[in-house]
C-alpha cells in the first residue's frame, strides 16, 4: 500500500526516533511512504488562534498535495491528524469557504477539491495492513510485556470529526498491542490529555497531568506506555523527570512510539528504532522481551 506521508514537525524535530522507526517498519508491513516535502505544519491548534483561515489554508495545501497523488494522507501524530481532519471537514462541507481558501492556494499552483482522506499509522495498521496479517508478521512476540496505551486527544475527539474509534472506550491501540503478542493495560488516563500544550503557560498543571497518567499506568502494572502522538511523547518521556517531581513519586516509565513497539515485535534491532534516544531508558522493556 502506498500513502501520502505527513510526518509533521516533531517527528523531524524533537522526536527523530519516531521518524526513524516509521521509516524502518514501513517496508516490513508493505507500506510505501511518499513524503509530502512541501507540506507545512498543521497549526497544532495554536496557529488556529492567530488566524483560523491561515491554518486551514496550510492544511488545504497538504490535503491538495495528497489529492494530486491520489493517495490517502497518513500522519504519525494525534495532533496532526486532528487538525488536518478538522480543516478537511470544513473545506469539504462549505464550498464557498473552500473557494476562498483555494484562491489563496492558486498562485502556488494547487487547488483542493475536497477528495482527500486523512488517516494515521495506527488506523493503517488496523484497516489496511490488518491485524491478522500483522500478527503473522510478528517475529518476536512481545509475550508478557504489559503495555499501557496512551492515545493523545485529537486521534479520538471529537467523534464528529474523527469517528475512527469510540472516543470514550477506544480499542485500536489495545488491539495492535495484542496482535504484537503483548498485554494491554487499562487505566483511566489513557484517553486524557498529556498536558503538553500548556507546558509553558501553566507548568504545574501540565506536568501533574503527565505524572498522574504515568503513575496510574505504573499502579496497574505497566512495563511501558505506547503512544501514537509525539507531542504526548514529549510530555511523557522528555519531561518525565519534571512530571515525577510534580506528582512527588518515582515514575521511571519507558514510553514507546507506536512504530517502535511494532518494530520490536517484527524483529528490528532496538538501535535501528532509535530506542536509545529516550530520556527514560528502554532497557527494562528490551530485557522483558528477551533482547
Amino acid at each position: 500500500m502506498k500513502v501520502a506521508y505527513f510526518p509533521g514537525c516533531v517527528a523531524k524535530g524533537n522526536c527523530p526516533e519516531l521518524y526513524q522507526s516509521t521509516a524502518r517498519i514501513a517496508p516490513l508491513i508493505g507500506l510505501e511512504l511518499v513524503e509530502l516535502k512541501e507540506a507545512p505544519c498543521t497549526g497544532a491548534g495554536v496557529l488556529q488562534s492567530q488566524n483560523p483561515k491561515l491554518a486551514d489554508a496550510y492544511n488545504a495545501k497538504t490535503l491538495a498535495l495528497a489529492e494530486e497523488l491520489g493517495l490517502e494522507l497518513m500522519t504519525i501524530c494525534s495532533t496532526c491528524i486532528g487538525c488536518l481532519r478538522k480543516s478537511n471537514k470544513k473545506l469539504q462541507e462549505d464550498e464557498a469557504y473552500r473557494a476562498e481558501v483555494n484562491a489563496l492556494l492558486k498562485p502556488g499552483g494547487h487547488e483542493y477539491h475536497g477528495k482527500a482522506n486523512v488517516t494515521h499509522l495506527l488506523y493503517v495498521l488496523i484497516n489496511e495492513v490488518g491485524l491478522d496479517k500483522l500478527r503473522g508478521m510478528v517475529k518476536k512476540p512481545l509475550t508478557g510485556l504489559r503495555v499501557a496505551p496512551f492515545y493523545g486527544c485529537y486521534i479520538l475527539r471529537p467523534a464528529d470529526i474523527m469517528g475512527l474509534d469510540d472516543p470514550d472506550h477506544p480499542t485500536s491501540l489495545e488491539r495492535v498491542v495484542e496482535a504484537l503478542g503483548a498485554t494491554p493495560v487499562d487505566y483511566h488516563g489513557k484517553t486524557r490529555c498529556c498536558g503538553f500544550p500548556i507546558g509553558l503557560e501553566n507548568e504545574p498543571a501540565a506536568f501533574k497531568m503527565a505524572g498522574k497518567h504515568i503513575g496510574e499506568a505504573k499502579d496497574k502494572g505497566a512495563d511501558c506506555m505506547v503512544t501514537p502522538c509525539p507531542l504526548c511523547h514529549m510530555n511523557l518521556d522528555l519531561q518525565q523527570p519534571k512530571a515525577s517531581k510534580y506528582v512527588n513519586r518515582d515514575l521511571n516509565m519507558p514510553v514507546l512510539h507506536l512504530p517502535q513497539l511494532v518494530g520490536l515485535a517484527l524483529g528490528v534491532p532496538p538501535k535501528e528504532l532509535g530506542l536509545g534516544k529516550h530520556i527514560v531508558s528502554t532497557h527494562s522493556v528490551l530485557a522483558k522481551v528477551g533482547m
Partner: protein
C-alpha cells in the same frame, strides 16, 4: 438484553461513609423494556422500586434542564438522553457522579464551583451606550457569531470531563469560558476589552489544553474548546494580553511556521519564555542533546520545500486583514 447490571457509585457521608463504593443493581426486561429505556429510566426504576436511598438529580427528561448530568462508563452524559443499549458493556453500565466537584450524596454533586466560575465571567450583557427607547437590535450575522454558545444548558458535563480542572481548580473551565465568549462576540456588549483583559489572566483562556473532552461531552452544540480558541483569537486581534505566555507562544509559533513551514519546538520556548527560562531548563534539554535526540540550534533547523509559498499565503492573508 434480558438483564443489565447497573454498577452505581454510592456515597453517603451522613451515614458515616468515608469513601465512595460501588453497589450493583440488576434490572431485567420484566422490570422495564431495557432496549427502549434511557439510563435515567433505569435509575428511576431502581430508586422507585428497589432502593429509595439512592440519590440522583433529574427533572425534565428532555435534555433541556441539564439536571441529570453524571458519568456513564467514565464519561459525562445527560442520562435522560442516553440509551441503556448504547452504553451497556458486557452486561454492565457503570454510573458515577460528575468529576471535579465534591459529592454531596451518591450521584448528586455540589455545583457551587460551577456557578462561582460562571459568576466570575459576569454572564450578563453590559452595554456601554444609553438604553434605547425600544430595544437593542442586532444583525443576525452577529448573532451567528455566538449562537452555539447561547445554547448552553449549564448541565456541567464539560466541567466534569475537563482535563485541566482535574489538576488545577483555578482554571475558569469550559462552561464559564464559553459563556464569556458569548458576550465578547455580542456587539451590544460594551465591556469586550475589559472582559478579554480579565480572561487573559491566570486561570483564563491560555490555560486550556485543547483536549476536546468538552466538545465531546457537551450534550448540546456549544463546543466550548472552539469558543476558547475564538476568545484567544479575539484577544490577539485586539492586542490584549500580548505579554502573556499564551500570546507569546502563539506569536513565536506563527513566526516559526510562516517562515519555514515547520515549527521549531526547540526555539519556540526559548523565545516565548526568555533566556532565564532556557537556562533554568537546561536540565531537560541537556540529556536529550547528549542522547542524540535533540540537536542544539542552530543545528538541525529545517524547512519545507518551497517555503516561499508558505510565506506568500501568510502575507496575502495579512494584507487582507
Amino acid at each position: 438484553m434480558e438483564q443489565v447490571i447497573f454498577r452505581i457509585q454510592r456515597f453517603n457521608p451522613d451515614a458515616g461513609d468515608k469513601e465512595p463504593h460501588f453497589q450493583d443493581y440488576v434490572l431485567t426486561d420484566d422490570d422495564l423494556p431495557l432496549n427502549e429505556s434511557t439510563v435515567l429510566d433505569a435509575l428511576n426504576h431502581i430508586k422507585w422500586y428497589q432502593d429509595d436511598t439512592l440519590a440522583h438529580r433529574m427533572s425534565c427528561r428532555s435534555a433541556i434542564c441539564g439536571s441529570c448530568a453524571m458519568r456513564v462508563n467514565g464519561h459525562t452524559k445527560l442520562v435522560c438522553r442516553t440509551q441503556v443499549s448504547s452504553v451497556v458493556r458486557d452486561g454492565v453500565v457503570t454510573i458515577q457522579p460528575m468529576r471535579n466537584m465534591p459529592i454531596i450524596k451518591d450521584l448528586v454533586v455540589d455545583m457551587k464551583m460551577f456557578w462561582d466560575k460562571m459568576q466570575a465571567v459576569e454572564p450578563y450583557l453590559q452595554p456601554s451606550d444609553p438604553d434605547p427607547e425600544k430595544e437593542r437590535r442586532q444583525d443576525p450575522a452577529v448573532f451567528k457569531q455566538y449562537e452555539f454558545e447561547a445554547t448552553c444548558i449549564m448541565c456541567g458535563c464539560c466541567v466534569s470531563d475537563c482535563t485541566v480542572l482535574e489538576v488545577d481548580d483555578a482554571f475558569l473551565g469550559p462552561a464559564a469560558l464559553a459563556k464569556a465568549k458569548r458576550f465578547v462576540y455580542d456587539d451590544r456588549d460594551g465591556k469586550k476589552r475589559e472582559r478579554l483583559q480579565k480572561l487573559s489572566g491566570p486561570g483564563g483562556i491560555w490555560d486550556c489544553v485543547r483536549c476536546n473532552e468538552c466538545v465531546q461531552s457537551c450534550p448540546v452544540v456549544v463546543r466550548p474548546m472552539d469558543a476558547i480558541i475564538k476568545l484567544r483569537e479575539a484577544a490577539l486581534r485586539e492586542g490584549i494580553g500580548t505579554e502573556t505566555v499564551g500570546a507569546r507562544h502563539v506569536k513565536f509559533f506563527t513566526e516559526s511556521v510562516v517562515k519555514t513551514g515547520v515549527l521549531d519546538e526547540r526555539e519556540l520556548p526559548m523565545k516565548a519564555m526568555g533566556m532565564g527560562w532556557a537556562l533554568a531548563n537546561m536540565g531537560t534539554a541537556l540529556p536529550a542533546i547528549l542522547k542524540g535526540k535533540i540537536k542544539p540550534p542552530p543545528l538541525g533547523r529545517h524547512k519545507v520545500e518551497k517555503a516561499e509559498d508558505v510565506q506568500r499565503i501568510y502575507k496575502e492573508l495579512e494584507e487582507k486583514k
